[in-house]
Amino acid sequence: MKTQSFQPQLPTFWWLQRGNYRRYMLRELTSLPIAVYAVWLILALLRLGQGAEAWAAFRASLATPAAIGLQLIVLVFAVVHSVSWFALAPRTMPIYIGTRRVADAWIAAAHYLAWAVLSVLIFLAIGV
């Protein structure tokens, strides 16, 4: 006997329903300020290519209160993005030693260590 089944619809605001959904949306949202900052960096390259005067003007524009505020907001979102990403990384790359799975904390710690080492290398390279 053929019967009619009922297909439920996902509510428009499904992403508000559960804590995990809200955290997920926040994590996805962090990519927007980071995208804005990426455009900003490209703009910096453009101004650099236009000569010393343009570069100096661009650097001055970075020091305005509005620009500093925007950079702080981007920094907060970048930190949230990185921390939430590193928290998920151990599940993406599980490592086994014999029959034991290496604890998530070690894999996350390795990511933080790599982050720190790369940051130091970049700072050294640009001579800060």
């Binding site: 009922f6 996902l10 992403w15 997920y24 993406t92």
Partner: protein
Amino acid sequence: MNSSSPSSAASTRMVTLDVARFRPESEPAPSWQSYQVPVLEEWTVLDALNHVKDHIDGSLSYRWSCHMAVCGSCGMMVNGNPTLSCKSFLRELPDQIRIEPLANLKVIRDLVVEQNRLIDGMAAAKTWLIPREPPPADQAYRQTPAQLAQYRPLSMCINCMLCYAACPQVALNPGYLGPAALALAQRYNLDSRDAGAIERMQTTASDDGVWECTFIGECSEVCPKHVDPAGAIQQMKLASSLEWFKRRLGLGGDA
């Protein structure tokens, strides 16, 4: 199963079950029906439903079998959470409980949902052993404890589909293979006896496969067997990316 019935003494706790009913022969969409159920301290939601079925309304339909979180039949939404009703104790729930069929799936009747999504997904993702070599003639395949440990957590899946009810992508993309089918595919990819990982990528790395997952992670939260489908799917994304690069570089590509 608890076959005893609570006494009608005044001290008996009464619980109201608000159950989503769907009778396709008489109504176009589900509707609510409430049942007053006298319950015992040790009862689960499934026990309360069984009481309704046995003593109040025999027409209520739901699936169940083992009553010990092994068979994976009795999954439903309890107060909005995908749960095995046999594992959901009434003493941890309020006096009014909302019971609905598993979210995101087609409802056949009352709390019974279509399971095609998982079954078809498993067939598409080839969730069976594709042997590396024929089994030894006179003995079983050999596997070390370390090789077993690689895939054992993923093999704990009981096909209960709670992860499908937790996953918005299941609702948003009707073709998506789904968390359990993909986790089971990875279970075989990680098996030392198996050589089907590249073959499985035909579907698991397709538009209906792992790339539909956005790592919300709720599938792993609701899994009663701690399978972590979300983690398995990210591992498959990594493997799929590596395979893509290998092919770009003219390496591998044996399938």
